[in-house]
């Protein structure tokens, strides 16, 4: 078996050190054991079309991210979109903070942590397109500002200095936001009926 693979992101499978944990405990565990390796994140149900993703670590600090799901949501293959750059992501995948945006949001995930020798990640960690700010996964995926702060403190000074944040990438994804809104509206209306509030609906 091989580890996560995608155009431009080749990492060996490595040694499994944790399985079936939530994102928050996985990031915390990676940090406290100073994991060099990666987390494979599998949404239990991320809206309609959750896809697995990967966050890599050096000494417990997040460095890179990749998701098989495009931050652009349900775009058709072949459709033009301005996210494309570098040597061209696979249709519909996402990298760096875009990948965090694709992985973040409502719904729990299952995570497996794998350990790898540092040189196995050198190539990925050198590629700016995958790079994420050290605190971003804790903030955006686990909603854990204190872990984010600790990760930033431990990170080397030259860690990620990109400009667009995962949040900006999330907000640029109009289709994804529309999906959240539609789902919330449907849920609100269904619950209103359960609560006897349907007479108040507009």
């Amino acid at each position: 078996m091989t580890g996560p693979d995608a155009a431009g992101l080749e990492i060996p499978r490595g040694r499994l050190v944790r399985s079936r944990v939530g994102v928050a405990s996985a990031l915390e565990a990676a940090f406290s054991r100073e994991l060099t390796g990666y987390a494979r994140i599998e949404p239990d149900s991320l809206l309609a079309d959750g896809e697995p993703g990967v966050v890599t670590f050096a000494a417990g600090v997040p460095r890179a991210a990749y998701c098989e799901r495009g931050a652009g949501g349900g775009e058709e293959p072949g459709e033009d979109h301005d996210r494309e750059r570098g040597d061209g992501p696979v249709e519909g995948d996402s990298r760096g903070v875009d990948a965090l945006a694709a992985l973040a949001g409502p719904g729990p995930c299952s995570v497996e942590l794998y350990e790898l020798p540092a040189d196995a990640l050198a190539e990925v960690h050198d590629a700016a397109e995958f790079s994420v700010p050290p605190g971003a996964p804790a903030e955006e995926l686990a909603d854990d500002p204190s872990l984010a702060e600790r990760a930033r403190e431990r990170a080397p000074d030259d860690a990620h200095d990109g400009d667009a944040s995962a949040l900006e990438s999330f907000l640029a994804d109009e289709e994804r936001i529309a999906a959240i809104q539609e789902e919330a509206r449907a849920e609100a209306e269904q619950r209103a009926a359960e609560w006897g509030l349907d007479g108040e609906l507009e």
């Binding site: 949001g105 409502p106 944040s165 907000l171 640029a172 609100a188 507009e202």
Partner: protein
């Protein structure tokens, strides 16, 4: 009565109670303001206002057999009329959330601005009721994806009851440059403008520890100034007093036990 606003977030701990009290105090310069702790499941307004030992609270008013008068649960503090909610779990279980309507109707009759500090959750009738009752919402956000997506969700819940967004507050902001871009982007999805971006602030934490609203504890802090700007930017809409009270009073079928 001018307007009833629900202060909501969808997500816990983003600063709803801090923001409700800060907006309330800023608005109180020009208006009569009543703040109700409508977060009946996780009441904490009392801890921000030194009212943890209040004798009569909203919880008493929500009990079916209660003989407490609404005015008994109103405390004049910090230039506001405050209606704290007790934190007894037993009383929460026995409470009839639909009585909130009558309580709010009575309070609405003699105040200009009614602020409802709302629950973080959306999973029960009592949590959603403030969104149903309010004229509009103020959505409190932290600049993170989980908070934004919960904020969008709460907006959608409110909208399904015809309650539009009056404005958005970004709280606990650390990156001044990025927040302007984020706020710009967010504005296209929210029904109201960004009222202010409130910095991460030691003063806000200290105020909570002291059991005082931020604007009383640290009126000169940057965070307090941001809330005053938010209050200025909030254009209150004159509601029809009778219609508001009617809406509050209209009956609902109680939640099944």
């Amino acid at each position: 009565m001018v307007e009833a606003l629900a202060v909501a977030s969808g997500k816990g701990g983003v600063g709803k109670t801090t923001s409700t009290l800060a907006l309330g105090m800023a608005l109180a310069d020009d208006h009569d303001v009543t703040v109700v702790d409508a977060d009946t499941g996780m009441a904490n307004l009392c801890f921000h206002t030194g009212l943890a030992d209040a004798d009569t609270t909203l919880q008493d008013l929500l009990l079916a057999e209660s003989d407490a008068a609404v005015e008994d649960a109103v405390y004049d503090r910090f230039g506001l009329s405050l209606v704290p909610c007790g934190t007894s779990l037993a009383a929460f279980r026995e409470a009839d959330p639909t009585r909130l309507r009558a309580v709010v109707a009575e309070l609405a009759a003699d105040t200009d601005v009614l602020l409802l500090d709302s629950a973080a959750a959306l999973g029960s009738q009592s949590a959603v009721l403030p969104l149903v009752l309010a004229d509009r919402t103020v959505v409190v956000l932290q600049p993170t994806i989980p908070s934004l997506s919960d904020g969008l969700k709460v907006q959608e819940y409110a909208r399904s009851y015809g309650t539009e967004t009056a404005g958005v507050l970004f709280n606990r902001v650390q990156d001044d440059e990025a927040i302007d871009r984020v706020a710009d982007q967010a504005e296209q999805y929210f029904g109201g403008p960004t009222l202010a971006t409130v910095p991460e602030s030691d003063a806000a934490r200290a105020a909570r520890r002291a059991g005082e609203p931020l604007l009383a504890h640290a009126p000169d802090s940057a965070a307090a100034a941001a809330y005053r700007r938010a209050a200025d930017r909030l254009d209150l809409q004159d509601g029809d007093e009778g219609a508001v009270a009617d809406r509050f009073r209209s009956a609902v079928i109680p939640e099944p036990p």
